[in-house]
Amino acid sequence: MTGEGIRQAIIDIIREIVPDEDLSGIDAEKPLRDQIDLDSMDFLDIVMELRKRYSVEVPEQDYQELESMSSTVNYLLPKMESL
């Protein structure tokens, strides 16, 4: 999976969690939670969906890596590039 593919996968997951929000203008460098109404339980939904859809584990100590879209893609790339 490429970086763009991972970005799209994350967008698909977030769209399911916050179906009311427009995700077209997300700034890749800004924290996701500053741009989208995501609380801690929603964030856990992202972690769960990565586990269910891609068998990817994000340990708690790495949660900070999922702060922005850019950092999320960079963090997941080694875990998902072979998918």
Binding site: E16, P19, M41, M48
Partner: protein, 411 residues
């Protein structure tokens, strides 16, 4: 009774299988329109059931709906509809003085059953168990979701009371107003039971699940051909206020909760006890300072089980025999809406104070001789002119009985 102890209904919000507001619901009841349809549930053939078709996004976002439960969605819809109907300026009111009190038959079965099923898709590896399980299944979930949605900071609670719960939610609201714990109560009952196969399968194993080739004829309390319960979802929440507050703001008053009672059979897990049911009705009448002759409508609990219907008739005959009260049944239209049943069935009859009509019982083609009662209203509405009082029965498993007496408000 002093006015600060008199409690009145000032708003109604509901969703039933045959109507998503009081006007449509009442119209369906007067026109004989059933809300029962064929419903697919897991692990067993399709069943007749009452399904609600309200718009869950009318009062909550898709995100809130996804986060919450079906019972929460029903509660949020009904609470908002009731408050809107009441004309109360809720936005600018002291929401720490409002409370949400919702009767439930059970809660959490739907979520748990679905989650167990989903976990099976992952070889029962619990790392796939959702972190939403606990907030969705705590017993206060439906009422709690209302407080989140509406910004209510006063008390909230769900009252587990089997199929007597709708009345008991209402009763608790009255009590909290009389205690002065709240100034504005959102109270009634809800049920999302149809979204678990377990309730259908359990009634089937108990030989108490209704079957009929025409789903609209499956719910037939008191009829010779009745063969069990039609399970339904639904909700009905009322706004309740002390009479003095309602009058001060010029509120529309649907009726006054003149009396209530709830008691326990202490005899059996599932079988009713007509002696305790009769006691409950008498106690509610006594508290209302009324006699059986003062009651115009007895809205029965009748669910369509052989013994339950017969036993309720024994109790009604004992209390109301020869009184002249008219008898009807709302479940024949909407099935058994479980925790919502008492509250919904009362709502179906409340407009009688205005239109002078008593809604009929449908599917009562051949009344069981054991269920014969004077003045049973069957098939067509009956117009008796001035209707001043309704008694509403709701009984549940473990022997819980609840009765509410509503009086037309007259200044």
């Amino acid at each position: 009774m002093v006015e600060n102890q008199r409690v009145v209904i000032t708003g109604v919000g509901l969703t039933a299988p045959n109507g998503d507001n009081l006007a449509d619901f009442r119209k369906a009841l007067l026109e004989g329109v059933s809300g029962i349809e064929i419903f697919k549930t897991r692990y067993m053939p399709p069943v007749p059931a009452g399904v609600c078709h309200f718009d869950p996004y009318k009062h909550q976002t898709k995100k809130q709906s996804r986060r919450g439960t079906r019972a929460g969605a029903i509660s949020i819809y009904c609470a908002n509809e009731a408050v809107n109907d009441s004309g109360f300026d809720f936005e600018n009111s002291r929401r720490d003085r409002a409370g949400v009190f919702i009767g439930i038959t059970e809660h959490g079965n739907v979520e748990t059953e679905n989650e167990v099923y989903n976990l099976g898709q992952y070889n029962n590896d619990v790392k796939f168990w959702t972190h939403h399980h606990n907030p969705r299944t705590v017993a206060n979930n439906p009422a709690g979701e209302v407080t989140l949605n509406m910004g209510v900071t006063g008390p909230h609670v769900c009252l587990g009371a089997a199929c007597a719960a709708g009345n008991i939610g209402l009763i608790y609201g009255v009590q909290m107003l009389r205690l002065g714990e709240v100034d504005f109560a959102i109270a009634g009952g809800v049920s999302e039971s149809i979204h678990t196969f377990g309730i259908f399968a359990s009634f089937k194993s108990q030989n108490a699940l209704a079957v009929h080739e025409d789903p609209t004829k499956a719910s037939r309390p008191f009829d010779m051909d009745r063969n069990g319960i039609v399970v339904s979802e639904g909700g009905c929440l009322y706004t309740l206020e002390r009479l003095e507050d309602a009058k001060a703001r010029g509120a529309k008053i649907y009726g006054e909760i003149a009396g209530y009672a709830y008691n326990s059979d202490a005899t059996d897990f599932v079988l009713p006890n007509p002696a305790r049911q009769a006691e409950c009705m008498r106690l509610a009448l006594d508290r209302a300072a009324m006699t059986p002759a003062d009651i115009d409508i007895v809205n029965t609990h009748g669910t369509g089980t052989n013994q339950g219907d017969e036993q309720e008739c024994v109790a009604i005959r004992e209390v109301f025999g020869g009184s002249g009260a008219h008898i009807n049944n709302t479940k024949s239209f909407i099935g058994h809406a479980m925790g919502a049943a008492g509250a919904l069935e009362l709502a179906g009859n409340l407009p009688s104070f205005e239109d002078g009509l008593i809604h009929p019982t449908i599917n009562l083609d051949n009344i069981d001789p054991e269920c014969r009662l004077d003045n049973f209203v069957i098939d067509k509405p009956v117009h008796i002119g001035s209707i001043k009082s309704i008694i509403n029965n709701s009984f549940g498993m473990l022997g819980i009985n609840s009765v509410v007496v509503i009086r037309r408000f007259e200044n």
